[in-house]
Symmetry: T
C-alpha cells in the first residue's frame, strides 16, 4: 500500500473444496472486470449443507484495488 | 445461492410510507443498472423527522447479484 | 420478565408480505414445539429478490421462553 | 443536516400494530418535551409475545435534534 | 432457502487437521440429532496449542435447519 | 476442551442478589435438561429496577456442553 | 415493560467495593432527577488501579424509564 | 475520574474546518446547558460533500459529566 | 438527503499530512468517476510508519451518492 | 489519565469465588512484571462448569499502564 | 484452562499456502520469545493479491499463554 | 507487508494539540522500546475536557511491528 487511492468492492466466492479455494474463485472472477487488485479481507464465512455434508463454502471478501492514475 | 460468484453493492432506499417500501425502492432503482440480483441484507434503518412525524424512512441494504458467466 | 430462568432460541421466519408477517410466522412455528414464549429480539433482516422485487423477507429472531418450574 | 450542533436521545416506542407505528409513537412522545427533531436511527427491534403472537413491538431509536441557537 | 421457517443452532467442531475438517465434524455430529440442515455460518475460529503447534482447531458454527412441516 | 463436538445454548438467569448468583441460577436450571456442561460466556448483563433499587439482575449466558459420544 | 414509551439515559456509577455496588450507586444517583426507572443494561465495565489493586469499579449503564403520561 | 457518578450525553458537532474543530463545537455548545464535563469519546465521524469537497465534518461524541453532589 | 435512492461506495484515501487530507484525497479521486456525491462516513483510520514516524494516513470512507433520475 | 503515553496489555484472571476476585488476580499477577498500572476494562467474562456449578470465572481485561518517562 | 492467569498477545502470521499455515507460522514465531502458549483465537483474516491470485494470507491471532508461577 | 510475522501492541497517545499529534506521540514513545514498526490502526479516540474545552486528545492505536528474523 502506498500513496494511492483505493476502492473497495465486496465479492462472495463459492467452492465445494475449501475456504481458500472460495477466496481464489472470488478474486479471479472479480479480476475479469477490475484491475490492480491489491489486498482482501475476509468478512464472512458461510456455507450450504446437503445430506449432512458441506456442499459449498461461501466466503465474503472486501477487495481493495488502486484507482488508475 | 449456488456455485456462482456474487458481487455485493450497498444501496440506500427512501420512502415516506414504510420500511418495506424503502427496501423495494432501493431494489427497483438498483435493478436499472444491475442484473441478476439475488438477495439483500438490511444494514441500517434511519429516517428523517418533520414536525414531529416520520417524513422518510431510509433503509441501507447490501444487495447480492451474480456475476454473469 | 420476573425471577425465572429463560432459554433463548434463534429462529428465522419468512414472508412474502412484510417484516412483521415474517416475525409472526417465526413465532407461530416456534410455538408448536416450545411453550411459554415471552419476548423476541430481531437480530438480522434479509430477503430474496426475484425479477427485481422482494420475493421473501427473512427475519432472524432470538426468542426467549421460560423454563417450566 | 447543516452546520448546527445536535443532541441525540435514545427513546423506545411500543406498538401492538407495526414497527413503523412503534417508531411514530416514540417520536411523537419525545416531541412533547424536545423540539427541532431532525432524524432518527433504529438501534434495536424487540417485542413481547403473548399466547404465541406478538403483543408489542418495541423499537429503540436514537433521535437527533438541533440545539436552539 | 425458501418460504420455510428455520431454527438456528450453535455448534462447535474440533479437528487437529484443518478448519474445514472442524466444520465437517460439527455438521456431521449435529446431523445425528437434527434433520434438514441447510446452511451454516462460521462465528468464531479458535484453537488449542501444544508444544508450540496447533493441537486442535475449534470452529463455532450457527447451523440453520428447516422446521418439518 | 478436547476433541469433542459441543453444542451451545443461550440461557438467561435472574437473581435479586448478585451477578454471580444469576449465573449460577442459569447454569443449575439448564443442568436439569442438559448434561455435560463445560463452559459459559456472559453475553449480556441487564436488570430490573424497582423504587430506585435493583430488583433483579438478568445475565444472559452461552453455555457449551459436549455431545454424548 | 408494557405499552409505554421509554427514554434511555446512560449513567456511569463507581464503587470501590463491587460491580453490583457501582450499579446501585449509578441507579440511586440517577433516581434523584429521573422518575419511573424500569430497567438497565450494563454497557461497559472498567476500573482504576492504585498500587496494584482495584481502586474503583466504573460501570456504565443504560437506564430505561417511562415517560409520564 | 474519581468516585462520582457520571451522566453521558451524545452530541454531534459540525465544522467545515477539521475533525478537531467539530469536536470543540460540540463540546462548547453542550457546555451551555451542562456543567462539569469531564471526558468525551468519538463514536462516529461523518460529513457532507458539496461539489466534490468536504463541506462539513460531523463528529458524534459521547460526553461524560459529573452529577452535582 | 431527500427522497432519492443512494449508492454507497467504499474508498480508501491516503495522505502524509493529516486525516482530513486523506479524506479529501479519497473524495476528489472518487469524484472523477462518480457524480452527485452527498455524504461520507469514516469506517477505518489506519496508517504506515517509517523510521518511527507516520508516513501515510489511510482513511476508509463509505461515500453516498444519488442515483441519477 | 494525564499527558502520558500508555501501553495496554490483555490479561485473563481466574477465580472460583467471584468476578471481582478474578479481576484482582489478573491485576496482581500482571503487577509482578508491569509497573504504573492505571486502569482496566473488562472485555470478556467466561467461566468453566463442573458438575452443574461454576468452577472458575475467567475475566479478560485490558490493562493500561504508563510508559516510564 | 485452569486457575492460572494468562496474558494475551496479538500476532499476525503470513503464508502463501493456506490459512492454517499462516496460523502455524504465527504460533511458531511467537513461541521463540513466549513460553506456555495455550490457545488462540483468529481475529482477522486478510491477504495480498498479485496478478489476480492470492500471494499471502495474513491471519491475526490473539494467543493466550500462562504466566509462569 | 510481506511474508514476515508481526506482533501487534496497543498504545494510547495523548496530545493537547490534535488527533494526529496524539498518534505521533504514541508511535514515537513506543519506538523507544520496539523496533521495526510498520503500520497502525486507530481503535479509539477519546479526550478530556477542562472548562468547556478539549484539554487532551487520547488516541488508542494498535501498532504492528515485524519480528526480527
Amino acid at each position: 500500500m502506498s500513496d494511492n487511492v483505493y476502492a473497495v468492492s465486496k465479492v462472495v466466492g463459492t467452492s465445494s473444496k475449501s475456504i481458500e479455494d472460495a477466496i481464489e474463485n472470488a478474486i479471479s472472477t472479480a479480476g475479469k472486470t477490475v484491475k490492480n487488485m491489491d489486498w482482501f479481507e475476509v468478512v464472512e464465512t458461510r456455507g450450504f449443507i446437503d445430506e449432512g455434508k458441506v456442499r459449498y463454502y461461501q466466503v465474503s471478501l472486501e477487495i481493495g484495488f488502486r484507482y488508475e492514475k
